[in-house]
Structure formats: structure tokens, C-alpha cells
């Protein structure tokens, strides 16, 4: 694959369809700059700021946009609220649609057949693959991203974090908790 990709890249650059520097910048952007830390900031703010939280659930695109996040795979954002009785999970059964703008590029498991096939039919089994068990009467809502809406799960704020700053709360928000396949960290799990 290395050689094939190199060949295509060489041809396209030689013909002037794309510049090397643009390729490099795209790679740099998604490898280093845009990632789950964006989404964690959104969640942390929702945990401390009730007005932002309300705005986030009413108009995800605008509220998240106010923090400077949006654009590619983030033009139409919907925030999903986890509560004591409802747990949300996000999947794209048909390909790999994922809220790049707030989470970066998706992990391999999200794009692979086991998750795509089972999340909509056996979410509890999938959560067990992540070592997570939910109470048996919790309603599980799975959102299949079939259009350009991109979903961000807002997990519940962990106990024992009263008075914490946004900056400190960001450290608790895991990527998987924003997809719905994990929980945020406990205060005790921070180094």
C-alpha cells in the first residue's frame, strides 16, 4: 500500500492537482490539532455552565461553534444528554460518519464490522466488550448517523468534582464517553 499510495500522490502532485504542502498540512491537522480534546472542552463547559448546557442541547452547532469548533464533519452537530435513566451511543452502520470537528478522526473499532453491526442490535453486548455494564432498566438510545448530523454524547458529570475548574474537568472526559462506549474518569483516576 505504501508504494501504491506514493505512486498516486506523486502523479497528482506532478500534475498540479494538489500541493505537497497541502497534503502535509491536512495530515498535521488531524494527527495533532483536531482531536477529542475539543469535545472534552465542550462537555466540561456543559458541566459547569447551565446556560451553555441548555444552549448546547437546543442548538449544538451554534453552542459548539461559539468555542471555535466546527467545519468539516461538524456543520450540523447534535449533543445528546446522558442521564441516570438514559444512555446514548453513536454509530454509523453504513460507513464511519463521526463528529471530526469535536473528536478528530474515528478509532478503528468504530469503523469496523463488529461495532457497526452490533451497536444497533446488541448495545449491551458491545458495552461489555468495553468492560461497561449498565443497569438493566436503563434506556439505551443508539443514534445511527445516516445523514450529515453528527452526534456528541455528553456524559454525566462524575461525583466528587464539586468546585472543579473547567480546565481540570476536561481531564476527566474520555473520547469513548463522548461516543457512548465508556464513562468519564473518576477523580481518583487522574494522576
Amino acid at each position: 500500500m505504501q508504494l501504491r499510495t506514493r505512486a498516486l500522490e506523486t502523479i497528482l502532485i506532478e500534475k498540479g492537482y494538489v500541493e505537497q504542502a497541502a497534503i502535509d498540512q491536512l495530515i498535521e491537522t488531524y494527527e495533532k490539532k483536531i482531536g477529542p480534546r475539543n469535545g472534552a472542552q465542550v462537555v466540561a463547559k456543559a458541566w459547569v455552565d447551565p446556560k451553555f448546557r441548555q444552549w448546547l442541547f437546543e442548538d449544538g452547532t451554534a453552542a459548539i461553534g461559539s468555542l471555535g469548533f466546527g467545519g468539516r464533519s461538524g456543520n450540523h452537530l447534535v449533543a445528546l444528554e446522558n442521564t441516570a435513566s438514559v444512555h446514548n451511543m453513536v454509530v454509523c452502520t453504513l460507513c464511519s460518519c463521526y463528529p471530526w470537528a469535536v473528536l478528530g478522526l474515528p478509532p478503528l473499532w468504530y469503523k469496523s464490522a463488529p461495532y457497526r453491526s452490533r451497536a444497533v442490535a446488541d448495545p449491551r453486548g458491545v458495552l461489555r466488550d468495553f468492560g461497561m455494564e449498565l443497569p438493566k432498566d436503563t434506556e439505551i438510545r443508539i443514534w445511527d448517523s445516516t445523514a450529515e448530523l453528527r452526534y456528541l454524547v455528553v456524559p454525566m458529570r462524575p461525583a466528587g468534582t464539586e468546585g472543579w475548574s473547567e480546565g481540570k474537568l476536561v481531564e476527566l472526559v474520555t473520547r469513548d464517553s463522548m461516543i457512548g462506549t465508556g464513562r468519564p474518569k473518576h477523580p481518583g483516576e487522574l494522576p
Partner: protein
């Protein structure tokens, strides 16, 4: 199309296997394949719906045994060749052999950040009104197009409830095949898990999909 990609509800793929500390890209070539795909949509003149169809439109045995970025790359190769931007002998040679075709736009490095930030919003203005309202019961049609659609097999024929009227959005079934954007009203439709998977299945499951109006019919 009812291709290898329509995976919702299928069995036999084994457990989900998260990789701890997974890197964004597993190989140098994956980075290139990803970046080239993003960069080539401007000169290629194609839209995201065409890209998605190019990825899914292959024998299921290929789709299911290729890795994620192998599929991206295969689609990129196919689309650049289809549009006469590269040829088989050039790919074989590993470098350009013929003069380039003129293209309308090229992504310059200076425009990368701006382009990513703009993204690709799909909402469009319309004079039409949505047929359905929040709370309406609707049935997902039993359509089986050979062409691109975003209505997964597992919901077809089933009854759900309109949860949200999203807006008027570019319609992929049309946009993927040169039929133009043809924007249609888009809804979030919620299905009870038992409606999808059977009366004996987990009663706590609800599945929502985003479905355009042509996918839905009223229940009477």
C-alpha cells in the same frame, strides 16, 4: 445499495476490539490516503455522496476484507481514473506521463485551515414545507435501490416516530449519481428496538436514524 457496507444487525463479526493508545494513523500511507482524498475533492469535482458510493460499490468480499483506508484509497483511485485525472499506466509507472486535465479548483496549503473550518454544510433553502411533524408515526419504505441510499436495510418496512424535523438537506440518493443536490426534508426518526429486532429482544433499546422524506410514508 444493499452492499457489504450495510452492516446494521448482521452477525458473525466477533467482538469489538478497542486498541489502547491507538494512533490516529497506523501507517504512513494511511495518512497520505486520507489527506489525498480530502485534498482531491476540489480538483476532482466530486461530492461526498459520490465518494461514499465509490467506497461501498464493490463486491462484499472486498469491502469486508479490505482495511478502512484501503477502501478509501481504492475509491480515490477509481474516481481519479473515472474522471481522467490519472491513468492505469501512470499508476503503474508511479509518475505522471501525460499533461494534466484543466480543473476548476485546487486546494492550496494556505486554504487548508479555512476549507476545513468551512466544512460542507448540507442545509439548503426551500419553499416547501415538511410533510411530517414531531410525534408523527412514519413507516420507512421498503426501497432496495442498486444506487446510493442512506436508509439502512434493518429499518426498512418498520414504523418509527418523528423525533426531530432537522431541515431541508442535500439528498444523497440523487447527489451521488449526478442527479444534483435535490434537497429534501430530513427527519430524525426513532424506532423501538422490539420493532426492529423482534418482540423478544431487549426492551430498553431505541434506535434513531436520520431519514429524508422520500424514505418515509405515513402510517394509516
Amino acid at each position: 445499495m444493499n452492499g457489504g457496507q450495510d452492516l446494521g444487525g448482521t452477525h458473525g463479526h466477533g467482538p469489538v476490539k478497542p486498541e489502547p493508545n491507538e494512533p490516529v494513523f497506523h501507517d504512513e500511507w494511511e495518512k497520505r490516503a486520507c489527506a489525498l482524498t480530502l485534498a482531491m475533492s476540489a480538483p476532482g469535482g466530486w461530492n461526498l455522496d459520490m465518494v461514499r458510493f465509490a467506497r461501498e460499490n464493490r463486491p462484499p468480499r472486498e469491502y469486508l476484507s479490505m482495511t478502512y483506508y484501503q477502501i478509501w484509497f481504492a475509491a480515490l483511485e477509481r474516481m481519479t481514473k473515472e474522471r481522467g485525472l490519472v491513468s492505469d499506466d501512470e499508476i503503474e509507472a508511479g509518475h505522471s506521463l501525460y499533461p494534466p486535465k484543466p480543473v476548476r479548483r485546487v486546494l492550496s496549503p494556505g486554504d487548508v485551515a479555512k476549507t476545513l473550518h468551512r466544512g460542507g454544510p448540507t442545509e439548503r433553502d426551500t419553499n416547501t414545507k415538511p410533510v411530517f411533524a414531531v410525534g408523527d408515526k412514519v413507516r420507512a419504505k421498503n426501497i432496495n435501490p442498486l444506487t446510493h441510499t442512506r436508509l439502512p436495510r434493518y429499518v426498512r418496512g418498520h414504523v418509527g416516530t418523528i423525533e426531530r424535523v432537522v431541515g431541508c438537506h442535500v439528498f444523497p440518493d440523487s447527489n451521488a449519481h449526478g442527479g444534483g443536490e435535490n434537497p429534501q426534508w430530513l427527519y430524525t426518526v426513532r424506532f423501538d428496538g422490539r420493532e426492529l429486532w423482534g418482540a423478544d429482544s431487549d426492551a430498553t433499546i431505541k434506535v434513531s436514524v436520520d431519514a429524508w422524506e422520500p424514505y418515509l410514508s405515513p402510517t394509516t
